[in-house]
Symmetry: C2
Subunit: 347 residues, 2 copies
């Protein structure tokens, strides 16, 4: 039943600015930020409005953490592993090599200690962080030559970032940090041998299959990659509880949209890439094993060096090892059977 | 002088009743409904309140659809495949044999035609439906004897429901509809030979391992199972747009909680079940293949008989076949490798 009016205080006018690392050239990522803003506005009857700016417009793409810490903007969309240089522990908020898949990541954040541990870490930067979606498992990137053994990685100049670069360097790769706009020319000129970006939907826009046709899977450094909303803690604490609840819900709402966008559209993007010359290859088992071993060496070094990293690493990996057997047994056996059955039915 | 306050329309007082098929004896399911109500209340500053009743208190557990259709209650939590008897097409809103996994289901609902098709179907019952979570892949149930060949299914009196029962009957199973409370005694007395319920978290409460120790996987009739919130369309259309947005967000918020609850806790529940006598078995490939073939026969019959079923079936299965290759390539190869690597690392 509709009825009595309410106090104006329950639904005050609030206007925020939001910056993103991304721009409209990456539609799933950017449009999930737009959806977040739209839902906040609708759920508050138009009283809580957040104006979104693409990366580079008022804050540089990788300036999101500082801008939210300083309250230059009240909130921002990004992926925490870009801030690996400030503290490698931030990677656990996005992706680490041989880490959790998207559902396991949600489970660690919501039901395990993930959100609690990340909130502790972000509090030191005056940020309240919220998970806001996931890309799912990414691809292992584009290579000009086939990777048949771990030795084929040695000396490769490869565009990658953060923690993945650290592990790949142990395999002889020479990691390069290059903005998306410069990737294609660098590959064309031969100053790059390989590039990892995201997956079919985003990679398709770069046209890389024309210059580096071998497209490898899986991206073992990003079994899933979580996106985040950062909110300045002072701004957050001034919000009525009602708007805090709306932020919690709008981030999950937009986050689900992000993952379903990739899950629904990667298949067709991959088909188009293959049709225009991409050659799909699985990383050989030897390469996967060498990568797994290299990751574990780096993990051990980082745990010895950074107590905060070790604290989160132990919790994250214990969760992975705890839930994996169930995923293998139920989800894995179901998905694997169905894939075989569908292939059989096609014949 | 009396006058309408400025904000009155933006945040009106609304009080609804909600019924559930479930009771607090199934904590993930029931607590996700509680979370939905709590988030709606918080996000509306306490002005939109929904009082939740467990199944059987004001409406029978399986009376949710009728109660919401008739506006006996404004909304309700249930799984649409319980209403298979009214129209088998409702199954696509929950689970069908060899159907989509949880992420694919979200993608079909959000990005494919799933929600649109289901909304058309539910409109004929005066219901606006919202997805509200998923159980993930379920188990294949508890059996007193091992299932070594398809022949071992013949004559089994098995507790199952709806569409799964229809397919299993083609394999010689005699399906029984039995409420959860009567399952254990029926197995103990020997009037049942097998039971499928949900998965480790929920199954653990029934103690079935004491009387039917073989615990089979995967539940091919529920590669995932979506839960739903039903809202009476008249009640929904009277809501301000603000509260409609809050419902859309709160259902996703609570829905994610449901899946992460199962994803985080099935592993430990399964370990406890095995420790207390459950014997894990994968359905043999022959049994899976016979089931797959039987499902396809039933699908064909239903498509010939029910045009609405065929319309949704064609769309749903086209989506499955479209996205599956990507899932196999990226998620599948990542998950499968990691499972092998973790097993290798343990040795």
């Amino acid at each position: 039943a509709l009825g009595a009016p309410v106090m104006a205080q329950a639904n005050p006018k609030v206007s925020w600015k939001m910056t993103s690392t991304y721009t409209p050239s990456l539609p799933p990522l950017y449009s999930s930020a737009q959806t977040f803003c739209k839902m906040v506005e609708e759920a508050s009857g138009g009283n809580f409005s957040i104006r979104l700016y693409p990366g580079g417009e008022i804050v540089p793409g990788f300036g999101v953490m500082d801008a939210v810490s300083n309250n230059t903007v009240e909130c921002g969309q990004t992926a925490s592993y870009y801030f690996y240089g400030k503290d490698p522990t931030f990677c656990f908020d996005t992706a680490v090599p041989f880490g959790l898949n998207a559902r396991q990541m949600n489970a660690w954040m919501d039901q395990g200690d993930g959100l609690k541990l990340m909130r502790e870490l972000f509090a030191t930067r005056n940020i309240v962080n919220f998970p806001m979606g996931n890309t799912g498992t990414q691809m292992g990137g584009w290579y000009r030559k086939e990777i048949k053994t771990p030795e084929d990685l040695k000396g490769l100049k490869m565009r990658t970032a953060g923690f993945a670069g650290e592990v790949l360097s142990r395999l002889g790769v020479v990691p390069q940090q290059i903005p998306p706009g410069d990737i294609y020319p660098s590959l064309e000129k031969g100053t790059l041998d390989a590039v990892e970006f995201v997956g079919p939907v985003d990679d398709e826009k770069l046209g890389l299959q024309k210059v580096a046709k071998y497209y490898y899977y899986p991206g073992w450094w990003e079994g899933s990659a979580q996106l985040s909303l950062y909110v300045n803690d002072g701004a957050y604490n001034q919000l009525p509880k009602q708007y805090q609840a709306i932020i919690a819900m709008a981030t999950r709402y937009a986050g689900q949209q992000l993952l379903t966008d990739y899950d629904a559209h990667n298949a067709s993007a991959l088909r188009r890439l293959v049709a225009s010359g991409a050659v799909l290859r699985a990383f050989p088992l030897d390469v996967m094993n060498a990568s797994f071993d290299a990751a574990n060496i780096v993990y051990k070094e980082f745990c010895d060096k950074y107590p905060q990293f070790k604290k989160v690493f132990d919790n994250y990996m214990a969760f992975r090892d705890e839930v994996s057997p169930w995923f293998r047994l139920a989800e894995g056996s179901y998905d694997n059977y169905l894939n075989v059955a569908l292939a059989r039915a096609k014949k």
